[in-house]
């Protein structure tokens, strides 16, 4: 009796669930993008059109764009924020010395002057950089921006007790006086050895070493001017003074904030921004699945972190032709890869490392990361294709099906003196299912040639500091392989490579992202590239470094990351910029 009732009830529940799922499936698809703009092109644009061209172009001003973030913003303070989406977004309310051009695809990688009149002028073998500021740029309170405001902004970002999360390039490169702790704790210290402001519109940076790619530092949000008298240290994130076309309104930490037009912004001083929408509303800590549903239904415009739709929406988007037509699948500036540690025998023999390169099934790496659309493209280099300097090559071809070249792997094992394979461990971050799946894929693929892997999960919070990034621990625990991933601070060889292939960043006490690359020649190549002022030649240098590292087989490139993004029905001027691998937030407009 009870059994019968239970079965009927379960049946009822199952019918209810199926109906609900059906309704939900019907809930999003309708329409071809809700395109009511006569000049719009989104219904014809097609899948991934936004990655290379402007979809739904328009110069119409007005309307509101709605953004949502599935978490909290790391910080809106331009002196500390350190996420690509945040740097992309910060251009709406702040003006840095340089900026990435608001343009689709590779054109978006181009640096253009923003607060500065022109790119930096190098002298003293690229150790001194001078910028002239545009006249007439104002803070949102009407005060004119001066070079002293830029200097103050850069210096405050070096106070790592107050701003521990931001980039640390200025601290490392500027010729700051010994013992300097930032303008709060060292207010009276003369810092002219690092930054000079000979007049209100000139700023001169003095570095400790040559840095040919300095304009990339100039595009960091920490060069956005901060008025000293309005600076409130760690709390400035809640009271930012704007220099861009928008200023903050109704900022509720952890919940939401709005951007409204900054009436002190003068378009005559700014050739880079269209500033189309009247208002931008941002909700924080919104359920990621709900964000997907709302964008698909037209209630929301942008998932600001641009990590791609969740698995539930992913299948809907890819299976529904109408939805797929309004989606983009851009390449990010990130590589998911595996470090092959030459400090762990027998991987100290290059032939054993090559055996790993040949034996791995690259398609299983891609599958582990979510497949072709959500995971990414198969990688054979360290630099992703979106980074200038990328050169396509494959030193370890793995067959037409990319499932590994087992014959080549066996030959390498014989040359290594391990014809029957060997045993080692593979480390991964236990909180990351994709890394676990990748480690298992390595285990299965390498077992085909006799390489036996034991999985070693570690907590991600201490992964680099205590385990896979701690050299003595790696050797003692035979972590021959360790899963890793890297995204560039900016799309440039230095931004991508310096922290993962320079052996000098490896610290005996742990904590470095570089776990396996110790090639003195590469260190020298990096130093040389940093003195090369010709951009094209410098890009060639980065490509050469990439190849030199791969020759040593200390990195197994897995996938160049990609994300599946859905275009807003309301937004105009939608395109992906290669600078961030995201929609260009500066270019977006709104229909209503």
């Amino acid at each position: 009796m009870n059994h019968s009732r239970s079965v009927r009830a379960r049946g009822l529940a199952a019918v209810g669930v199926s109906a609900a799922l059906l309704l939900a499936a019907c809930g999003g698809g309708g329409g071809s993008g809700g395109n009511e703009n006569p000049g719009a092109q989104s219904s014809q644009a097609g899948f991934n059109a936004g990655s290379t061209s402007v979809v739904n172009p328009s110069d119409k001003k007005g309307g509101t764009l709605k953004f949502a973030n599935e978490g909290d913003w790391d910080t809106l303070d331009p002196g500390e924020t350190y996420y690509a989406y945040s740097w992309n977004f910060a251009r709406l309310y702040g003006r840095s010395l340089m900026m990435f051009k608001s343009a689709p695809g590779k054109e978006g990688n181009q640096l253009v002057p923003d607060l500065a009149e022109a790119p930096g002028q190098a002298s003293d073998n690229a150790k001194t950089w001078t910028y002239k500021l545009r006249k007439g740029v104002k803070f949102d309170d009407g005060t004119e921006v001066t070079s002293a405001d830029v200097k103050y902004a850069v210096l405050r970002s070096t106070d790592k007790q107050t701003f521990p999360n931001g980039p640390a390039y200025w601290d490392a490169l500027l010729n700051l006086p010994s013992g300097y702790k930032g303008p709060y704790k060292s207010p009276n210290m003369n810092t002219d050895s690092a930054i000079e402001t000979p007049d209100e519109s000139t700023i001169v940076f003095h570095l400790k070493q040559p840095f040919a790619a300095f304009d990339y530092l100039g595009q960091q949000p920490d060069t956005m001017p901060v008025p000293k008298d309005k600076d409130t240290g760690a709390k400035y994130r809640n009271s930012i003074v704007s220099t861009g076309p928008y200023k903050f309104a109704d900022l509720q930490p952890g919940k939401s904030f709005n951007l409204v037009r900054n009436d002190q912004w003068d378009p005559a001083t700014d050739p880079n921004r269209k500033a189309l929408p009247d208002r931008i509303e941002v909700s924080l800590n919104v359920n990621a699945d709900d964000i997907d549903n709302r964008i698909i239904s037209g209630d929301l415009d942008v998932a600001v972190t641009a990590l791609g739709v969740q698995p539930a929406a992913q299948s809907r988007v890819l299976q529904d032709p109408t939805l797929k037509e309004n989606a983009d699948n851009p390449l990010g500036v990130r590589l998911w890869y595996t470090s092959i540690n030459p400090t762990v025998p027998p991987l100290n023999n290059i032939e054993c490392r090559k055996a790993v390169e040949y034996a791995m099934d690259r398609t299983s790496y891609q599958t582990a990361y979510g497949g072709q659309f959500a995971g990414g493209d198969l990688a054979t280099t360290i630099l992703p294709p979106s980074v200038p300097g990328y050169q396509a090559y494959d030193l370890y071809p793995d067959g037409q099906d990319h499932k590994g070249d087992l014959d080549a792997a066996k030959k390498s094992l014989e040359a290594c003196g391990q014809p029957n394979g060997f045993q080692t461990n593979i480390a991964y971050r236990s909180e990351r299912p994709k890394e676990k799946a990748t480690a298992e894929a390595f285990q299965q693929a390498l077992a085909r040639v006799g390489i036996q892997l034991t999985l070693k999960p570690y907590p991600q919070g201490d992964y680099f500091a205590q385990y896979a990034g701690l050299p003595p621990y790696v050797v003692k625990n035979k972590l021959g392989l360790a899963l890793n991933g890297w995204a560039a601070d900016w799309p440039d060889g230095f931004g991508f490579l310096s922290q993962i292939v320079d052996s000098r960043v490896i610290r005996p006490a742990g904590g470095s992202s570089n776990m396996s690359v110790r090639i003195p020649e590469v260190d020298q190549m990096l130093d040389k590239a940093l003195t090369e002022l010709d951009t094209d030649k410098r890009n060639q240098d980065w490509g050469a470094i990439d190849k030199r590292v791969m020759e040593e087989a200390v990195i197994y490139p897995g996938v160049y990351s990609k994300s599946l993004l859905v275009r807003s029905k309301n937004a105009t001027n939608i395109f992906v910029t290669d600078a961030y691998g995201e929609y260009d937030y500066l270019g977006l407009g709104a229909q209503k």
């Binding site: 007790q161 521990p164 919104v286 359920n287 539930a312």
Partner: protein, 337 residues
Amino acid sequence: MFAYIVRRLLWSVVLLSVLSVVVFSIFYLIPLVGGATPETLAGRYVGRAATPETVHLTAERLGLLDPVPVQYWHWLKGVFVGAEYDYGSGVEHCPAPCLGYSFITKQPVWPELLDRAPVTISLVVGASLIWLIAGVSVGVISALRRGTVFDRGAMGVALAGVSLPIFFTGLIALAFFSYRLRITAPGGTFVPFSESPGRWAYSLLLPWITLAFLFAAQYARLTRAGMLETMTEDYIRTARAKGLPERTVILRHGLRGALTPVLTIFGLDVGLLLGGAVITEKTFSLNGLGKYAYDGIVSNDLPKILGVTLVAGFFVIIANLVVDLLYGVIDPRVRLE
């Protein structure tokens, strides 16, 4: 009665103190015992480019270099006399009760808890009323019409309600009612009661129903079982024999006896949810205490977690005290002399 309440409240202070020690130990002491250092703990709160010096400075700023008992003492002192926080260009005073500063958002925790409490209270009050009325009503009718189509249908729906998680029903409900039919508010909507009672109810209608669906199912089944048992008691037969109307027999004698276990569970449920209806708030993107706690857990933001834990503990203690007092009203056998 007054002495009983005072005694229970004093015990609640002791309980909350123990709770704070336990939570503090979980986050600070146990990692140290497991081999972590103040620097590795501080490493969670710095960016990827942080140098060892930055990590050390962060550990110093967060007070992680002090022995754990000293850290706890500083926190406890802040609760009673307030604390001060160096934000770089100045020092901010956090008045008592200062439950600490968020490591991540650099905001004092107590004002944020106060700010978010109305959302959670609104959610729980509305949902609990719905599930209590609906659940108990359905349970009573099912018990009285045992074996009928209504009973079987209601218990079937109840089973579905118990079985389906909120993150599933919530998302389905949002997709259908908010984004397809557009008859309910989209996720993330909350209008304070003081601003507009009508819009307040509209903004929370879907979360209320979704949360209530889960709990109403349990209450219907619990009430039904209680009623089935109570209605076979001798005193019910006596009441009927005395010629009391059936309505009075059911409501004043039957239901009253069946309500005691329902009330016990109700107190616990409401208390726990007031401390944060985590999944519902997360699903509907409501900025209540539950989502605050979730964010704290995800980002290892101990002051947030500690604050919500204490608030949750407080609500559970108070809810249980109220329930204990209500026992006496409902059931004269446990009335305090």
